[in-house]
């Protein structure tokens, strides 16, 4: 495999799974031209005039969609760890003797570990998408036939739009749907809120199959999935396990150390003048982020000011903020708990579902993200040049997807609240194991032992220098971590590249190698 050094100094291949690829050239340097990819032309008269596109089974839908060797099959991840659909697709493919498929999920979860057997048997050649937990471990040990391709949510949309990936069949779970193929996630036993990740799939796939366990009469409104793009509708008993769909991530952390990090983050934002009437923010559904949201809420309430909008994962806490009048709009890409699902159902105007296309897409005519004032993200590692890693752990195992992380780095102030070390492993290091985000886009690191501001952000440094906050250089933080933990060894890898990490523009920013076991 031919390897070249890219703009951040990482050795990356020029070809992946037989296709030529472009090495990372720097932020904002790669500008593909030409026409967007488009699916085949369809003709309305080929579809049932009565609008009933139902077929008896997923198997029949896949056969009718022309499932064959080497196809790209896409799914969305709104059912998260409770998804019962994706595994069935590949079980059916195995039964039909189909080989060499590519799975393009918007994210995978531990519940998808059953796909390992299809990777082993060759039904699935490789996965392009996040690889959480067991699948990541499998790939890290060099056991996947093809090379994994990890993209951000925005990068997935970019790749589908510019034709880097051509989806043959999109199988889209819809917690509520009608026989025409309109669908949404607001109701039904598997309710999950918005279905924004399906947006690019149904617009660009050649064949679209909607799968539901809550079929209602036409019309199913709102049309989060528009039936006019849909070929077949399949009804089944159960598309998901409710308690795993609305996962347990929406509990505020009880850890005093995490709460301390959340408090420091909030104080930093306040000292930097970021929390103002009309500001905007985005944060995830992890325990620390939720605590920061709660502290923001408190400040807004006390000062009787409002945030104009928030983007991202909605939870019971963002719902409270919205319904309290402290937040005007919750633009929801992913709905994390039932309270947030209820809010999306009831607060249609203030709490709409949006898609990756709106927030993150490299080929959209602008992104919501660049308008955001405060962006709270996580990381498994950050290095002294503020480069961040979210996909591998310090021991080299690939255990997480990129999610929207890379896309979010483009906000006006990107803050990573992270513990200085996790279980003796320092988070701040000389060089990240996998470079997922370039340091020029990371503004602030907040740890329980101090705050490091990227020297490129002199404006932020000036704003908080007299705030009394524990400001440190990133080197000081690293030294403190190493004093407590010791200096870790560098994990050993083989030469085999098991995954390529794409930047938001489709270029290769880094690779993950097979761990030595």
């Amino acid at each position: 495999m031919k390897m070249v050094k890219n703009a951040v100094g990482r050795m990356v291949p020029t070809e992946i799974n037989g296709e030529k690829v472009v090495p990372f050239m720097g932020v904002g340097k790669h500008r593909p031209t030409g026409k967007k990819h488009a699916p085949n032309i369809s003709t309305a008269i080929d579809y049932p005039a009565d609008g009933d596109k139902r077929v008896p089974s997923l198997k029949e839908a896949l056969v009718k969609s022309g499932l064959k060797d080497g196809m790209v099959i896409s799914t969305h991840h709104h059912l998260r760890n409770g998804d019962l659909v994706a595994n069935q697709i590949f079980d059916i493919a195995a039964e039909l003797g189909v080989k060499g498929l590519v799975w393009l999920p918007s994210a995978s979860f531990p519940c998808h570990k059953d796909i390992i057997k299809h990777l082993e048997s060759g039904v699935v050649h490789h996965i392009e998408g996040s690889m959480n937990g067991p699948l990541g471990r499998f790939a890290s040990e060099g056991k996947m036939q093809g090379m994994a391709v990890l993209r951000s949510h925005g990068g997935r949309t970019q790749a589908v739009q510019d034709g880097e990936v051509k989806i043959d069949i999109a199988v889209l779970a819809a917690p509520t749907a009608d026989p025409f193929g309109n669908g949404h996630g607001l109701d039904g036993p598997s309710a999950c809120g918005g279905l924004g990740y399906a947006y690019v799939d149904y617009h660009y796939a050649d064949k679209v199959v909607v799968v539901t366990d809550n079929l209602i009469k036409f019309p199913c409104m709102p049309m989060q999935i528009e039936g006019n793009y849909v070929d077949y509708v399949v009804e089944m008993d159960k598309i998901g396990i409710p308690e795993l769909i609305v996962s347990g991530t929406t509990q505020i952390t009880k850890s005093p150390d995490r709460l301390l990090i959340a408090e420091l983050t909030t104080k930093f934002c306040d000292a930097a003048g970021l929390i103002q009437d009309g500001f905007s923010f985005q944060m995830g559904a992890g325990g620390t982020s939720l605590a920061i949201g709660l502290y923001f809420h408190k400040i807004l309430k006390e000062r009787q000011i409002k945030a104009r909008f928030a983007v991202g994962g909605s939870t019971q806490y963002s719902t409270k903020m919205l319904e309290d009048g402290c937040l005007e709009y919750m633009l929801d890409g992913q709905t994390f708990d039932l309270e947030a699902v209820r809010s999306m159902r009831e607060n249609r105007l203030q709490h709409p579902a949006i898609s990756v296309f709106h927030a993150y897409d490299y080929h959209a005519k602008g992104n919501f993200t660049t308008m955001m004032d405060v962006m709270i993200l996580g990381a498994t590692e950050v290095d002294v040049n503020f480069n961040g890693n979210v996909v591998t752990h310090s021991d080299g195992y690939m255990l997480h997807g990129i999610g929207g992380w890379q896309n979010c780095l483009f906000a006006k102030c990107t803050i990573l609240p992270v513990p200085l070390f996790r279980n003796r492993i320092p988070i701040i290091c000389d060089e990240v194991t996998t470079l997922v985000g370039p340091g020029e886009l990371v503004d602030v690191i907040v740890t329980e032992r101090g705050i490091a501001i990227n020297p490129k952000r002199q404006d932020l440094i000036d704003k908080v220098k007299d705030s009394g906050l524990p400001l440190k250089t990133i080197e000081e933080l690293k030294a403190e971590a190493e004093r407590i933990c010791g200096i870790p060894e560098i994990p050993e890898f083989t030469d085999k590249v098991i995954a390529a990490i794409k930047w938001v523009d489709g270029t290769i920013i880094d690779v993950v190698r097979q761990v030595k076991t």
Binding site: N423, R424, R449, C485, P488
Partner: protein, 392 residues
């Protein structure tokens, strides 16, 4: 071949390890490393273990470490604890002494909050000082099971040397009786600032501890003061509170422990706390009679911060200067509640200004507006201003 162990390795025991040791006649070192962080720290762990064994001149041994991310000072403490179960030796294997952990403290330093940490549980120690408590208590007494007392003592010693408490006063609660005196031998040479003496009932008990501390200070040339805070936890202790407080100039304050006290007098604990009112008042008065701080018992419902706040305000109203914490999140609530309110500060400032003005003019009488101010009111105002100043 006798096999011994120290430490623990359940999933929840982050930053700890369990080490199992047996000595052999020959065959060198047989070391098995099982660690959550093996890929990144196996070499470091092997070196640490070899270094400790070398220091104790042990050549032939079977050692297994089941590690959950323990830092070096924990691994060395656990191994030393194993060795001392098998070999009789006075040798110590000490981690590097942090310079910031050699400082002394003054007698009248604020002690609003003191965070209790179980002495044998390392995961809570690393970040304990970050929460801003006035003091950190490494507990060797009730939170350590009788079978683990020896290893806890070694771990607490290492913690005193190696863990940065970020300005928190370094306190150790020793055991009662003879074991407590031996605890002192282990911790006084490593710059503990305050010794908490549990279930103190007589001035004699206090003097025994005081004498042992002074002789250790001389022996190890410790120049810092080492303060003693007796904990009054029985009817006898309450009755003798003044004698205990007055027994030594090294007593820095009196603390009260209400669980044991209510058990001793045979009264159930209630929310209103009538049954403890006498004891609390006795402790406050005994302390204040000797110019010392009075420290209230812990509040055990860690999820109810509003009730904690109420509790602290009640303590403050009785004359207490601080209370114990059993969770880091209690620290801020306690500090906020003990802090003088803005109104109190404003009122105190007026009185102090008037007092200074009167002094300057040589007037015998202090007045704010048309109101005459008595000397004790001035004294209280001065105390409020002093506290406000310390907090800022």
């Amino acid at each position: 071949m006798k096999t011994v162990y120290a430490g623990q390795n359940e999933r929840a025991d982050r930053s700890d390890c369990k080490i199992t040791l047996s000595l052999k006649k020959s065959g060198g070192l047989d070391l098995t490393v099982n660690s959550k962080v093996k890929l990144l720290f196996e070499k470091a762990i092997r070196k640490t273990i070899t270094d400790v064994l070398n220091a104790f001149s042990i050549e032939h041994a079977k050692v297994t470490i089941d590690d959950n991310g323990a830092p070096d000072y924990v691994i060395t403490a656990r191994l030393e604890a194993c060795i001392k179960q098998l070999v009789s030796t006075d040798k110590l294997y000490l981690p590097e002494q942090l310079a910031q952990n050699t400082t002394g403290t003054c007698k009248d330093r604020m002690r609003r909050s003191r965070l209790y940490l179980p002495g044998n549980t390392p995961k809570l120690a690393l970040n304990a000082g970050l929460h801003g408590g006035d003091g950190i208590i490494l507990d060797l007494e009730d939170s350590v099971s009788p079978a683990r007392k020896d290893e806890a003592r070694i771990l607490v010693r290492n913690t005193l040397r190696a863990v940065d408490f970020y300005g928190g006063e370094r306190m150790v609660r020793i055991n009662q009786g003879e074991r407590g005196l031996e605890d002192l031998d282990a911790v006084i040479p490593h710059y503990a600032n305050v010794i908490l003496l549990p279930k103190c009932e007589t001035p004699e008990q206090l003097l025994l501890v005081d004498e042992r501390i002074q002789s250790l200070r001389n022996e190890y040339k410790i120049e810092n003061d080492v303060w003693i805070m007796p904990i009054i936890e029985s009817a006898m202790g309450v009755i003798n509170a003044f004698q205990i407080a007055a027994a030594s100039k090294n007593v820095v304050g009196l603390a009260i422990g209400l669980e044991d006290y209510t058990a001793d007098i045979g009264a159930p604990r209630t929310r209103e706390g009538k049954e403890t009112f006498f004891a609390r008042s006795m402790v406050v008065n005994a302390a204040k009679a000797c110019g010392l701080q009075a420290i209230d018992s812990v509040f055990s419902d860690i999820s109810d911060m509003d009730a904690l706040c109420e509790n602290v305000l009640a303590s403050k109203a009785l004359g207490f200067d601080g209370m114990g914490c059993i969770h880091p999140r209690q620290v801020k609530v306690i500090h906020d509640a003990f802090a003088p309110t803005e109104e109190e500060i404003e009122k105190a400032r007026k009185i102090v200004d008037a007092f200074k003005e009167a002094e300057k003019k040589g007037l015998g009488v202090v007045a704010v507006g048309s109101k005459m101010i008595d000397p004790p009111v001035v004294k209280r105002a001065l105390r409020v201003m002093e506290l406000a100043e310390k907090i800022n």
